[in-house]
Symmetry: C2
Subunit: 238 residues, 2 copies
Amino acid sequence: MDNSKIGQHISGQFNKELEDVRNKVLTMGGLVEQQIELAVTAFTTGDVEMAELVIKQDNQVDALEMAIDQECMQILALRQPAAFDLRLLIAVIKVINELERVGDMAERIAEMAIQLSNADSNKHDQYYELEHMAELVQEMLHGALDVFARMNIEDVTAITGLDENVDREYGSIIRQLITKMMEDPRNITRMLNVLWVARSLERIGDHACNVCEHLIYMVKGEDVRHLTQEELERKMKE
Amino acid sequence: MDNSKIGQHISGQFNKELEDVRNKVLTMGGLVEQQIELAVTAFTTGDVEMAELVIKQDNQVDALEMAIDQECMQILALRQPAAFDLRLLIAVIKVINELERVGDMAERIAEMAIQLSNADSNKHDQYYELEHMAELVQEMLHGALDVFARMNIEDVTAITGLDENVDREYGSIIRQLITKMMEDPRNITRMLNVLWVARSLERIGDHACNVCEHLIYMVKGEDVRHLTQEELERKMKE
């Protein structure tokens, strides 16, 4: 699957508009990826300034979502696209909504970083599991944006398949946190912060999967939401 | 503001299609409202069968979302609507996504009900604050679906204004839960279940606000996401 479908328009201007929208989605995706990277680093190192930067960046992400949304609506109204072009624009509207929510998760992690750094400043070296989970969901989101950029649905199940690992890590982190809370109840508030971060990361993994599903709809015209990983793998082999 | 815009089409068939889509959204909304009601009752009374019903209902909600989505895409492709009709269809696509996520939250509450009923069965009379918060978010969601049905944007700020109360109640519940966890660490697992329920309710309030924002976009063509409550109130008076 290549981008050839995009190049088939009689109107070069329409072509340019669709290409422009896709590029803006990738810009937004890059920004959101950076937000997660910074938010997790801010949390694990206790860097308050970095956390504040993430919170500030979220306005940019929100503004980008609104701009792309408006651009899609204008193209829909003026060009009245059908078939693949219509699905592309609707998929973009849905994908940027996922990315905006990922941005909110990054903001939330940054807020936890600030709260935790107020609570204590010398326990930031205990987040090995969290960092590993963060790497996994970053890999998922990066993969989702990459297949979206290349409109390559063949690699999609390798990305959505990672979600099981994320869920497993999440469950393991929650169990560890409960143990630590029970061992020393003074840990409870601090551990709840970690718990919110783990939960936010788990949600980012879900949003990455949703991006993949929107891509499949765009390319194949098939709605694959709510399928299990096995069902999806079978569907992709059809 | 009345529904007169919907009645202005030369094509009676097109008219019927838009009306049909709106009715299906309201059906989906009604189902999701029922899900929340049952999930909260299941949680506070420990009724496992009721919780299982909620989880089963979620398949219906998901199927409705996919059916409405497809119907919107067909209308977009065949009728190539512009202006209000285009905004209506895009708003519907976004609103059903919010409702689907609300359904997921209800399912989550139902899962917590099942877990908690396994953990202990005689402490289900301690959820007064949670029930009050649930009433608030149910009021918000019902209000959002009602203004959407009537396409009445005048009453929107009264609904979104409730979100501050929800957030306040949420904060208060979290503080109480932390206290209870500290008092008796054996409470921790149980209290975490309550915490997830509170969090899910808080998210439902956010989704109700989002429905209101999509309605405003549909009627006025203005994107009011990311405004504060005061900014929104000012905007609505313009």
